[in-house]
Each structure stands twice: as structure tokens, then as C-alpha cells.
Chain length 152, copies 2
DNA sequence: CCTTGACTTCAAGTTAACTTCAAGTTGTAA
DNA sequence: TTACAACTTGAAGTTAACTTGAAGTCAAGG
């Protein structure tokens, strides 16, 4: 089995054929065509698809992945260097994500203890250090006069 | 300032007025109306909105949040008990998320070391324990004859 | 040769979480 | 009382990552 059909690739990778075609339109993968215009894939494509799924699990968008995979050879298995460069970058990203979540958890733990009866003193209600990469506007939740608390 | 207009709330919470109206259609928040049909919010709404944003940062969908906030009083500040129940649930969720990411990182670290020249032995390429909550289909990436590796 | 499953393209549909727009109404400061 | 910002609703638009459907073509076994 020198070449894989799109069905073969779908079975082997666990990714739907529709998704594979979609990836191709996005420039994430490439294919050769038969005389009858059907896609045929080199076997190295399996690794590439695996990388895409792994990257997605990391939270990368397809656009970011397209970018990251740009630097890898399309036609053959990436070299050790290729892979190390990529995996080190991804590891840093993971470290960051973990750190953010741990910080959030610590804040939340404090909150459980404090009963969280004041917006002013509660870290959860007062981001600023939090992961604000998705935010649209300012997130200042302070400034309330405190008489609205203490109610339990 | 007994009642907040939607503009006030937007400024204080950092959430756009359009989003606040949207939250209302989703049943996440409530409002009274003036004679002229404009929304007026109790000040306790601030905490509720803050909770929504905090929950989103945790990765909860608005639907899940609507569910979680169901159990909290709409009209007044939640009691210490209310809050502790919620925050403990969320903390568990966070713990899980962190554990998943740490596992992924450890796998990735191994990969950096190994140069990752074999799909068969690499944990990243062989999920199964990985967070498969987003997946659509099976994810078996094994079963390649090994002659496609060792290339660097 | 013929059947049938696998393949092709392109357009439109899906979900989440909003935003934007249009057209009209309200609230308030001067 | 008048100007004008802020408010109202409902519909449509946005982005990501795909899926689904329609209508037609290819490949391989019998």
C-alpha cells in the first residue's frame, strides 16, 4: 500500500474525510491526484495528521497549526531537529497554560476558604493577572460600595 | 444608585451591553423594566455577571453556566453556602483540567527526548488516555509499518 | 460490461457566543 | 421643551471547524 486513498487515511487517522478535504483547503495537508482526479496520499501524511490532532488538543487553531507545520517538510517524515523545534515550542505553551490554570485554582481555593463575601478582596472577581487573551473589553469588577455583601 | 441601567452594568462589569442582553435571552441574568421598558438591574447582578465571566475562564459554556447558576438566588447575593458549593465543584473541574494538561506535557517532554521518530512508541501520537472530550471519532494512529520512520 | 461503493466539487447548514445594524423610543440635562 | 445620548427589538452577520447534501465521476470485483 504505497499510496493512501482519502478513505484509507480517514480510517488510519481517525479523521473524517470531510475534515481531511477541509484541511487541504486550509493548506494543512497536501495530496497527489490520480488520472481520475482522486486524492492519493503519501504515507508520511499520517504523521502530519497526527501532529494536527495533537496540536489541536493543545488548543492551537488550524491557522496556527498551518503556520507551525509550514516549517516541516510536506513530502517526508520530519527530521529529529524539525520535531524537537516544534515540541519545545509546544511544551512552552503547555507550561504557560498550566501555570494559568494553577493560578486560577489557587485563587479559587482561597475563595472557598473566605466564603467570598467581598468582591473587593476576592481574586476570582478581580482578574488583571488572569488569562485575558479572549477578553474583549476591560474587566474591572471592583468599585462597588461594600454594603451589598455580607448577607449569608 | 439603587438600580443599574444596562450601560452602568456594562461599564462596571466590563461586559458589552449586547452581551448582557444576550445573557438575558439565555436565562443567565434577569432584569426589571422601567415604565418605558428599559432594563434596570439590582446591584447583586454584578456578582452574577462576575461569576459568569469566571466560569467562562474555566471553560464552561453559557449553557453549563446557566445550569450552575440556576441553584443561586437571582435576586440577592448568594450565601456563603451557595458559593462554597459552587466553588468546590469548579475547583474539582480545574484540578481535572490541570491534570490533563500536565499529563500531556509529560508526554511531550518524553517526546522531546526521544526525538519522536516512531509513531508506535510516542505517547503524543498514541492518545487513548488523552482528553478525548472534543473528539468526534476513533483516534487510533498506530498500525503503521515502521519503515516510514528513521529518516533524520 | 455492469454494478456499487468510494470518490469528486461546491454550496449550504451547524454551534457557540456574540456583534452589528436598522428603525424607532426613552430619559435627562440645559 | 428640546436635544441627544442611551435605550429598545429583531434580524442578520461573524468566526472556527467542520458536516451534510446534491449531483455527478471513478475504480474494482464478478
Amino acid at each position: 500500500m504505497e499510496w493512501l486513498t482519502i478513505g484509507d487515511l480517514a480510517n488510519r487517522s481517525g479523521v473524517a474525510t470531510s475534515a481531511l478535504r477541509f484541511y487541504e483547503t486550509k493548506g494543512l495537508i497536501e495530496s497527489e491526484r490520480t488520472d481520475g482526479n482522486q486524492r492519493r496520499y503519501r504515507r508520511a501524511i499520517l504523521r502530519r495528521v497526527a501532529l494536527i490532532r495533537a496540536g489541536q488538543e493543545l488548543g492551537l487553531s488550524l491557522a496556527e497549526l498551518a503556520d507551525a507545520l509550514e516549517s516541516l517538510p510536506h513530502d517526508k517524515t520530519p527530521s529529529k531537529k524539525d520535531w524537537q523545534r516544534l515540541s519545545r515550542t509546544w511544551r512552552k505553551r503547555l507550561d504557560g497554560q498550566i501555570a494559568d490554570l494553577v493560578a486560577l485554582r489557587d485563587d479559587l481555593s482561597d475563595c472557598i476558604g473566605c466564603g467570598c463575601l467581598s468582591l473587593k478582596s476576592c481574586a476570582i472577581f478581580n482578574p488583571g493577572d488572569a488569562a485575558s487573551d479572549l477578553g474583549t473589553g476591560p474587566r474591572y469588577l471592583l468599585g462597588d460600595s461594600s454594603d451589598e455583601f455580607v448577607k449569608s
